[in-house]
């Protein structure tokens, strides 16, 4: 059987749970051409609740499939469950869920990373399993690196967001967490493509799975503030890439220092409007105290059923777009995003990818997380936020282990160049041996 902690990480419905466990024990039980996959809980699917890690959506059964889920189901995919996450994606450690906390398969005292923590745990634990994840500011890269799996975040607009419960609409991207490059090759083309239900998916060029990473740029700014084990693993990985014939250049990207504030302001500005709809009417938690005035009625449900981090981000986002602050925060953040995109484009004139560690430290223990201030948590995203803000595709690959705990590196490619990242993943797994946690029967 699977160890207890992973059950926490996967909230499969009861009747599906048996199927799920069976698949884990014998993935080949699936007929030829079929495969199993899980989806982060903010992706809507018929037959499952979609709660996005929030109590305010408890009991909500969406009346439609998210486009990427529909496409996977159409080619024979069996959705075996929804994976736990930080409430609406608000977190770096998946500790902000309204439904328990997933634990790291390598060390159950440590977190999975977030916000796609359950997705990363599933990909790490279950052989041949595909996890659909979602990244707004690093929510695929971070848990992939903490759980020792591959996490691919496509270009913004590559995968339709129809059916994705919004965090920040200009930042949200559906992506894949898996053990192998082969799965990326198989399933990225399936979930990609323009969708008549998402205007922002309509501008994409055709997905080109060719391309390679011959030259990488390492920004000096990314090497500051790393834990020693991450610094040394990353240095070793860079050397290994060099031995494989990849050219490595050091570059400077001074605008990256603006990425964290710009990201958090944009993401929370958008989130605070997206979350306005959760008010005790229409879907999710229903307030039946109709004899209250509407302001009290709305405030009651929202105060009771949003978690503390959701409230923090609603406050930050609401403030950032209020009269008198809007230009200084919201509008400025929009401008800074363009600045950072320009800086990436300049770097990409002379290299194929920007390479950094994924997270500045290995998966922290829960007691360490409890001592962190919100700002410290936000700042932990300083390597994953920039490509997310710029809508650039990126991939996190396992690149080392510190006392058995995985460490990841992240490669960022120009917009629409996912193909080169997949080819990097393929060549990397030939030279670097991935380890996976043992599932005891």
């Amino acid at each position: 059987m699977i160890p207890f902690p992973t059950v926490d990480g996967l909230q499969a419905l009861d009747e599906r749970h048996a199927v799920f466990c069976e698949r884990i024990e014998d993935p080949l039980a699936l007929e030829h051409g079929k495969f199993h996959f899980s989806a982060k809980d903010n992706l809507c699917a018929r037959g499952f609740q979609a709660r996005a890690g929030s109590r305010i959506l408890k009991g909500y059964r969406p009346p439609f499939d998210a486009t990427p889920i529909r496409k996977l189901r159409e080619i024979g995919g069996l959705l075996i469950g929804k994976t736990n996450m930080d409430e609406f994606g608000f977190g770096t450690f998946s500790t902000n869920s309204g439904f328990g906390i997933p634990r790291n398969p390598f060390d159950t005292e440590r977190c999975c990373g977030g916000s796609s923590g359950g997705a990363a745990a599933a990909a790490s634990l279950i052989p041949e399993h595909l996890s659909l994840g979602v990244s707004t500011g690093g929510s695929i890269s971070c848990p992939a690196s903490f759980c020792g799996v591959i996490g691919l975040t496509p270009t913004y607009g590559r995968v339709s967001r129809w059916g994705l419960i919004d965090y920040g609409n200009s930042l949200d991207k559906v992506g894949l967490l898996t053990r192998t490059a082969r799965d990326l090759e198989r399933y990225l083309p399936v979930i990609s493509g323009p969708d008549a239900k998402d205007p922002t998916s309509q501008s994409q060029p055709v997905l080109d799975m060719r391309g390679e990473v011959a030259t990488v740029a390492v920004p000096a700014e990314a090497l500051v503030g790393l834990s020693p084990e991450v610094a040394s693993s990353f240095a070793e990985a860079v050397k290994e890439l060099g031995r494989n014939g990849v050219k490595v250049r050091e570059v400077r990207m001074p605008s990256l220092r603006y990425a964290i504030p710009a990201y958090y302001i944009l993401a929370t500005s958008e989130a605070s409007t997206n979350l306005a709809r959760y008010c005790g009417m229409r879907f999710g938690v229903m307030n039946h105290e109709f004899d209250q005035g509407f302001n009290d009625f709305f405030s009651e449900t929202r105060s009771e059923d949003f978690g503390p981090e959701a409230k923090r981000r609603i406050l930050l986002g609401t403030f950032s777009r209020m009269v008198g602050f809007r230009n200084r925060y919201y509008v400025k953040a929009l401008q800074v995003r363009q600045l950072i995109i320009r800086e990436y484009r300049k770097v990409f004139e002379s290299c194929d990818a920007v390479l950094t560690p994924t997270m500045p430290f290995i998966a922290p223990r829960f007691d360490e997380i409890a001592r962190m201030r919100p700002l410290e948590m936000y700042q932990a995203d300083f390597l994953t936020v920039p490509p997310n803000l710029a809508g650039m595709p990126h991939i996190s690959l396992p690149c080392g282990y510190s006392r058995g705990i995985p460490i990841g590196m992240q490669a960022v490619a120009p917009q629409w160049a996912e193909g080169s990242l997949v080819s990097l993943a393929r060549s990397w797994e030939e030279s670097f041996h991935y380890r996976f946690p043992e599932v005891t029967a």
Partner: protein, 446 residues
């Protein structure tokens, strides 16, 4: 006195602004989908027709057109608003700084933008404690909002503005339901301070609401009382404006861009659009081109677009004055019946009128023939075709020189010949026409 208006008019599209739901729902919550209900994970997709109609209106109102526009989220909490934000336009309206002429009066247009309508609330329960029952069929219905400068100086002027605007929009984009469904916020200041009357439905109520508010402000000023800047609403039943419910606090809409929609290059679109001639523009042109009085031109155009077509065709043959009197007289009075067959009867009508104006037919004969046209009798029109009649008259007059002689002293002498003609023609021509023609022929011989 200064009055400015914010007018919301529904754009007559088949589907809603951001989803494929029909704009004509019947039973409550029957024309709804995850998009217009704001379900998690659903997202908007802009209706091309609505954007184009909005652009056409802005251009028609002589606005300076934006090159690129986007949408914005206006966040406020109310039970009729599914997402608790409304998708509207904030920092990039379709057009700004336009104007609209009401007769000779120029009313400035500050901005034109499009937005989605919220749902409809039915209030249920005891007065003062009503709860909301909501129908979201209206949620996502496309609206255009037109904001005027405070250029109107009386409630009557505001009414005239709205009347004329709706006349034009009806033709321009096919607005239906006009007066009843138009929703207006009106700003009015008799003295220094401005009061906003929110959400008045229908043109008549706008004028009533404004009149009552003007009276209220005037009385207060006369009594040397201060007018407070506030939002009021118009109580249709009592015909007075009442203070709006005191809001707990000033709502901060916190506008941000709508990231799900992207941007729209309306500059080239606007430049490529031709504005069709609207009724009041046409009336002004007719008045100027044919020298007829403005009210007459307006009446012709507003009676029916095809009647104005008829007028123009007639005017080209017989001049503006005659065309106007025929159009406003006999044609207007039979128009209800003529309308259907207006295009096929067009030549007949022109024939009759030219016959009259050229003196070949009497006025009353012409009128009679026109009123008889729709029934299909008297298909053979006189006029140029009355060759057989003229030939017969000439023949008879030639044969009876005594009648010409007697006619000099007594016009009744003609009656003998008229009788002969009527008998020979078996009622094909009316006695009036025959008398007219006979008279003309006899006069020639004197």
């Amino acid at each position: 006195m200064k009055i400015g208006l914010e007018i919301h008019v529904q754009l007559p599209t088949r589907s809603k602004l951001f989803c494929g739901c029909s704009t004509s729902g019947d039973a409550p919550n029957s024309s709804v989908c995850p998009v217009c209900l704001g379900f998690p994970g659903a997202r908007p997709f802009l209706n091309r027709q609505a954007l184009e109609m909005g652009v056409l209106i802005a251009k028609f109102l002589n606005c300076k057109m934006s090159d690129r526009v986007w949408f914005a989220r206006k966040t406020y909490f109310y039970p009729d608003l599914p997402k608790n934000f409304q998708i509207t336009q904030y920092d990039s309206p379709l057009g700004v700084d336009g104007h609209f002429m009401v007769g000779e009066k120029r009313v400035g247009i500050w901005r034109v933008h499009i937005e989605e309508d919220p749902g409809r609330i039915r209030r249920v329960g005891r007065s003062g404690e009503e709860v909301a029952m909501v129908d979201y069929d209206r949620s996502g219905i496309p609206l255009v909002e037109i904001v005027t400068a405070p250029d109107m100086t009386s409630p009557a002027e505001a009414r005239d503005f709205l009347t004329d605007l709706i006349i034009e929009l009806r033709r321009l984009i096919g607005v239906t339901g006009e007066e009843q469904t138009m929703r207006v916020d009106a700003n009015v200041s008799v003295g220094e301070e401005r009061v906003e009357i929110k959400n008045i439905t229908g043109l008549k109520n706008v004028e009533r609401g404004l009149r009552s508010e003007v009276t209220r402000q005037t009385k207060m000023l006369a009594a040397k009382k201060r007018i407070v800047r506030e939002t009021r609403h118009f109580d249709e039943e009592r015909g007075v404006t009442m203070p709006g419910r005191e809001k707990e606090f000033e709502e901060d809409y916190g506008y941000i861009g709508e990231p799900d929609l992207g941007t729209y290059r309306i500059g080239p679109l606007a430049a490529s659009m031709a504005i069709p001639e609207t009724p009041l523009v046409r009336a002004a042109r007719l008045s100027k081109e044919w020298g007829i009085a403005a009210p007459a031109a307006r009446q012709i155009v507003l009676t029916d677009w095809a009647l104005a077509d008829m007028f123009e065709a007639l005017a080209a043959k017989v001049g503006g004055e005659a065309a106007m009197s025929w159009t406003m007289g006999p044609l207007s009075s039979s128009w209800k019946d003529l309308r259907e067959k207006a295009s096929e009867l067009r030549e007949d009508i022109i024939g009759i009128v030219t016959a009259v104006t050229s003196g070949k037919m009497t006025d009353s004969e012409g009128r009679m023939r026109i009123s008889a046209l729709p029934s299909g009798k008297e298909a053979a029109a006189p006029g140029e075709d009355a060759g057989d009649l003229d030939a017969l008259i000439v023949k008879l007059v030639d044969e009876h020189p005594e009648v010409v002689r007697d006619y000099k002293g007594n016009e009744r002498a003609a009656n003998f010949l008229i009788g002969q003609v009527m008998k020979a023609m078996k009622g094909k021509y009316s006695s009036k026409v025959v008398a007219e023609r006979m008279k003309m022929e006899l006069e020639k011989r004197l």
